[in-house]
């Protein structure tokens, strides 16, 4: 059904009209319209040249204006009988103003290329002349310089290598892989040190410092139970200020939330943790893509479990490697 409808639609669509021929080309299928003879054809020229006429008339003089008589003579010899070129375009310039040999002009016309005229050359000279010389009179104006071909595609420049002191970094590290530690107390009032592995991604690294920190840690100290230690996962956001240089000092406020798994008397519980803190430190650009990150500050984790919310304040320290 669909195929039949498509066939009917194809039959109903009228055939598009033929496109006009491209300029400068002659459609092969259509005959040239009859051209009325403007002037009568000259009488046939005897093949035997006179003594004053060169044997080869197909070579035009290299320079200098062509005498009207010679031009008309050349046209009468080599130009086609019809004044309309083969391309069908009307002849817009007088043949006596054409530059170059009439034979070459005729050949160009035969190929569909219009020969350059004095007006064309004048326009080109006006374009090539400097602006200061355009206002000068034609008498005082020096002859136009020949256009020089120039390369527009430059060769690859050599790699620039700094031989002296490298410039200070404009930004802090993109990634910082670090280690954080702080100590609080567990519910049984035992010392509980938390050891975190942290990964920081810097979103703003110039004078405003904005980063995302993901930290995973496990407990240690007196409350630790070996392979059944409590652990914590925290996602933080840090916002602060810094002065990027070889040693980049910074101050940052951090906050985040996460999950904490605790075990007391062999009973596992899952709770929430939220942290706030202030951290200050510095980042030392050891190499272009390698930094050492040191920070210390204050952290307050809020731990929520079935018993309630408890908080603790602690000193925290973080060391890391930046890239």
């Amino acid at each position: 059904m669909i195929a039949a409808a498509a066939a009917l639609w194809a039959l109903s669509v009228p055939e598009p009209p033929p496109l006009p021929p491209d300029p400068g080309t002659v459609p092969a299928a259509r005959p040239s319209p009859p051209v009325p003879a403007v002037r009568p054809s000259p009488p046939p020229v005897p093949r035997t040249p006179p003594a004053s006429v060169p044997a080869s008339r197909t070579v035009a003089p290299a320079a200098g204006p062509t005498p009207p008589a010679a031009a008309s003579h050349a046209r009468s010899v080599d130009a086609p009988a019809s004044p309309v070129p083969a391309s069908g375009a009307p002849e817009r310039a007088a043949p006596d103003r054409a530059v170059g040999a009439p034979v070459a002009a005729a050949a160009s016309v035969a190929r569909g290329i219009r020969p350059a005229t004095e007006a064309d050359l004048a326009r080109d000279r006006a374009v090539l002349q400097p602006p200061s010389a355009r206002g000068a009179s034609a008498r005082t104006q020096p002859p136009p310089a020949r256009p020089v071909a120039r390369r527009t595609a430059l060769a690859p420049l050599p790699v620039l290598r700094a031989r002296g002191r490298r410039p200070p970094p404009a930004r802090s590290a993109v990634f910082v892989v670090g280690y954080r530690v702080f100590t609080i107390h567990d519910r049984l009032r035992r010392s509980q040190s938390w050891h975190f592995a942290s990964v920081e991604a810097g979103l703003l690294r110039r004078y405003v410092r904005l980063g995302l920190l993901t930290e995973v840690g496990a407990e240690g100290g007196e409350a630790a139970r070996g392979d059944r230690n409590d652990f914590m996962v925290v996602q933080k956001v840090g916002l602060g200020a810094q002065v990027p240089h070889f040693v980049t000092p910074f101050v940052e406020v951090q906050g985040g939330v996460g999950l904490v798994r605790t075990e007391l008397f062999e009973r596992n519980d899952l709770g929430w943790v939220a942290t706030v803190g202030v951290e200050g430190g510095a980042q030392w650009a050891v190499a272009r893509f390698f930094r050492i990150h040191l920070a210390a500050g204050w952290i307050r984790p809020y731990l929520k479990d079935a018993a309630g919310v408890r908080r603790a304040d602690s000193f925290t320290f973080r060391v890391g490697l930046g890239f």
Binding site: H185, L270, A306, D313
Partner: protein
């Protein structure tokens, strides 16, 4: 000499407030229990501990079976705790039967019914001949009560001694032991404190090993007439 900044008092007040805020508050759920006469005191966490019964001189706690806050219905408690004077009306067998859901009575699984402590109960701590627990004399001596309880448990439920009856502290006359029962499978750890009115018996019963830091931390909060395990 420069005069002190006018902001100094405010800074000091702010710092003091900050330090006061930084003082770590007590943990939520930490409960303190004291006997009526004030001779015995204890601090425990609730949760996970739940009070079963409390009297003027005794306290019983339990920990229900839960994983990540999800309780197992009809499951026995994982831990039991009893603090009471060692008298004729109290027995550790009741705690064990609670853990085992009544499985393993004394007559069915008794390894011996003579009442005498097996020779390995003492663990060689006394040296020489094996002591036979004297029920009449046990009420005043923590070690005798500990030996009697261990013997009773092993005779009723079978099992082995995990930690022999020993002194809990170098300078403390507090006896302690741990046995692993066979039926039901349970750990029993006891602490026996001397007091003016007899021996105070503290017993943990659990399906887990009781020689853990959590139990040790809880035991360190027990104070009987000024005696506490450091």
């Amino acid at each position: 000499m420069a005069s002190p900044s006018p902001r100094l008092p405010g800074t000091v007040v702010f710092a003091a407030a900050l330090l006061a805020g930084c003082a770590e508050p007590p943990s939520p759920g930490m409960r303190a229990w004291t006997s009526d006469d004030g001779a015995v005191s204890l601090v425990y966490l609730a949760p996970p501990w739940t009070e079963v019964s409390a009297g003027p001189d005794r306290l019983t706690l339990r920990i229900d079976a839960e994983v990540f806050g999800v309780a197992f219905s009809d499951a026995p408690p994982t831990h039991l705790f009893s603090l009471a004077p060692a008298g004729v009306d109290t027995s550790v067998l009741d705690l064990v039967e609670t853990i085992g859901r009544g499985g393993g009575t004394g007559s069915e699984s008794a390894a011996g019914s003579s009442g005498a402590a097996p020779p390995w109960v003492t663990g060689g701590t006394t040296g020489g001949a094996d002591p036979a627990p004297d029920a009449s004399a046990a009420l005043g001596d923590p070690f005798q009560v500990a030996l009697l309880d261990a013997s009773t448990l092993l005779s009723a439920h079978g099992g082995k001694v995990d930690e022999a009856v020993t002194r809990a502290g170098d300078d403390l006359p507090v006896a302690t032991f741990q046995v692993v029962l066979a039926a039901p499978e349970a750990f029993v750890r006891g602490f026996y404190y001397p007091s003016a009115r007899g021996v105070v018996r503290v017993v943990f019963v659990s399906i887990f090993d009781l020689r853990s830091p959590d139990v040790d931390a809880m035991v360190r909060t027990i104070d009987v007439e000024g005696r506490a395990i450091p």
